[in-house]
């Protein structure tokens, strides 16, 4: 074996690099996809809630995509917030994901506020961030209104409007 023809060696080296690069790229894609949520997880992403039995002023909690969802039917003396309220059947609701937008703890509902114990974040009755580290108000989950029912996991023009304002 001779090493005289270094051009040929260089060519072999370059073609190996090319094959390795292509292979490496596809392996990375496969690894990324392997870590993605499974189809069964994604399919379980929709939840329907009937709002008609809810009592005013009482926090109702359900789960959607394994996350807690706060639903609160506002009483007349709770401040209306056109930027965030979900209006169903004439009544105003605070609907939000019950996870602090700071680092994801569950705030507790105390006397008209949502208080996050983890780092002291406070949200008002409509879910706006009013104190502490949370960078924004509680997130509103994508929803669709269907009569007196709320379908979580699907967007609708109502939802788009709120997201733009909030």
């Amino acid at each position: 074996m001779s090493l005289e023809n270094s051009e040929r060696r260089k060519f072999i080296g370059a073609s190996f690099s090319a094959v390795a690069a292509v292979g490496g790229f596809f392996s990375l894609v496969a690894m990324k996809k392997t870590w993605d949520p499974l189809p069964s997880v994604k399919a379980a992403g929709f939840t329907t809630v009937d709002l008609s039995p809810l009592k005013e002023g009482e926090l109702h909690q359900i789960t959607w995509r394994k996350k807690p969802i706060f639903i609160l039917k506002k009483t007349a003396d709770m401040k209306a917030d056109d930027n965030r309220d979900v209006i169903v059947d004439g009544a105003r609701y605070t609907v939000c994901i019950g996870l602090c937008t700071h680092l994801g703890c569950i705030p507790s509902y105390k006397s008209g506020q949502f208080i996050c114990a983890c780092h002291g974040g406070i949200f008002d009755i409509s879910g706006n961030a009013v104190f502490g580290p949370p960078p924004r108000g509680l997130d509103i989950p994508p929803f669709k209104i269907d009569g007196t029912k709320l379908v979580l996991g699907e967007t609708s023009p109502e939802f788009e409007k709120l997201v733009k304002k909030a």
Binding site: P37, G104, C105, A117, G120, G132, P133
Partner: protein
């Protein structure tokens, strides 16, 4: 091929094939250690001993642990703790070794800072050490969530949520890391993989590199004296053992190391037998519940100072949100010590007490980190002597960052100019 002769002994048989003698000389018998070092230099070998304990006890635990969100809690708290003979021993050894490893890492690191062992050719030792600290943090965190108790679950929730701070792709990234919309079974299994497979391999590789990086610049000593190791080594070999400033790693220093390891092991098994509770959070004996946050979340003691820096910022600056500032400060704190060789602008290698400014800087840094740890454990909404904890945390966090990026360069530039 080498010329293999008929061997004269078993040792010779191996020596002809594996160059055992040469290897032993390079690794131990002619690896030179300064005479002038103290017990603080034994921390490396203690860490190695702890790593072996973690590895072996981990193997014992992994035989019964079930990485499944439905089974994990019981496999630890029932099967391992109640059924498996001596299961409790392995678990407490594993938990306490993890906790104590960080204590020793901190002592090891601060010894390095005090004697300024991170510069003049020792940068790679330092950087690989800080890298080990970071990977150990990931290893500790991924292990902490495996028992799937309340604290495990919410620690995972909070730490994975941190990646939401990455611009634009944040939310998608969090979902990808978790493999679900919230922390759940896929998250558990992939962290299990990280904890028992990938990260240990990486740790072993980096430990090997950390050792290797010591071979050429050699270890520092109590006076920061520059030693010509080849010359002193020759002196030693030629019989001038007293005159020489060095001793071989084996039997010279390692023999002493073993003595310290023995004392340490007595302390360690005292903790395992009689005081294991400090490494076990009571909240973690409640099974994970994704719909109820514990009222007060805090990490293990060794992450508290970084955690406090994370939550130390509570106001927005222009477009930067408070939480982003906290995140940036937190990430900085994680890598900050790795930058010391370059932030220290002086070329002096001498213990801190030889330089007033650096001495004060060192102790202020240490006290600040201890205070950060204390406040990291306290609830954020409390107050001490009428001052809100949030404000104290903020001042301490700013102080930490200031000490690293402002005061250290200042002090060391003065030192350089003053000589």
């Amino acid at each position: 091929m080498a010329n293999i002769k008929k061997s004269t002994s078993l040792g010779d048989w191996f020596d002809q094939r594996l160059a055992v003698k040469k290897f032993w000389n390079v690794m131990a018998a002619e690896y030179w250690i300064p005479k002038n070092i103290s017990f603080l230099w034994a921390m490396g070998v203690i860490l190695l001993a702890l790593f072996v304990i973690l590895f072996v006890s981990g193997l014992m635990l992994v035989m019964y642990y079930k990485p499944d969100a439905k089974l994990a809690f019981d496999s630890v708290n029932y099967t391992i703790m109640q059924e498996v003979e001596y299961g409790w021993l392995w678990r407490h050894m594993h938990g306490i070794a993890a906790s104590i490893t960080f204590l020793i890492i901190y002592i090891h690191t601060f010894t390095g800072i005090y004697y300024r062992s991170y510069k003049n050719g020792r940068e790679m030792i330092w950087v690989s050490g800080i890298l080990l600290f970071i990977i150990f943090s990931a290893e500790a965190f991924s292990g902490y969530m495996l028992p799937w108790g309340q604290m495990s679950y919410w620690a995972a929730q909070v730490i994975t949520q941190l990646f939401g701070g990455v611009p634009i792709i944040g939310d998608a990234l969090v979902e990808w890391i978790r493999g679900d919309y919230a922390v759940s079974d896929p998250t558990l299994t992939r962290f299990y993989m990280l904890h028992v497979c990938l990260l240990p391999i990486v740790i072993i590789a980096v430990i090997a590199f950390h050792f290797y990086s010591l071979r050429f610049p050699h270890v520092n000593n109590l006076d920061g004296e520059e030693i010509d190791f080849d010359l002193e080594g020759e002196k030693y070999l030629s019989g001038k053992v007293k005159e020489s400033k060095v001793i071989p790693f084996w039997p010279g220093f390692l023999a002493k190391d073993f003595f310290y390891v023995s004392i340490f092991m007595i302390f360690f098994f005292y903790l395992v037998g009689f005081n294991y509770n400090f490494a076990m959070d009571p909240i973690n004996f409640e099974p994970a519940n994704s719909l109820k946050t514990p009222t007060h979340i805090y990490p293990e003691w060794y992450f508290l100072w970084q955690y406090e820096i994370l939550r130390g910022f509570f106001f927005d600056i222009g477009p930067l949100k408070a939480s982003d500032i906290g995140l940036i400060a937190f990430s900085f704190a994680g890598v900050s010590l790795g930058l010391l060789p370059w932030l220290d602008r002086s070329d002096v290698v001498a213990p801190a007490h030889k330089n007033r400014g650096f001495f004060i800087w060192f102790w202020v840094l240490l006290v600040d980190m201890i205070l950060l740890s204390i406040f990291g454990k306290l609830p954020a909404d409390g107050s001490i002597m009428g001052i809100n904890n949030t404000y104290i945390g903020f001042v301490l966090s700013i102080l930490y960052i200031g000490l690293i990026v402002v005061f250290l360069p200042l002090i060391t530039i003065l030192e350089r100019k003053g000589r």
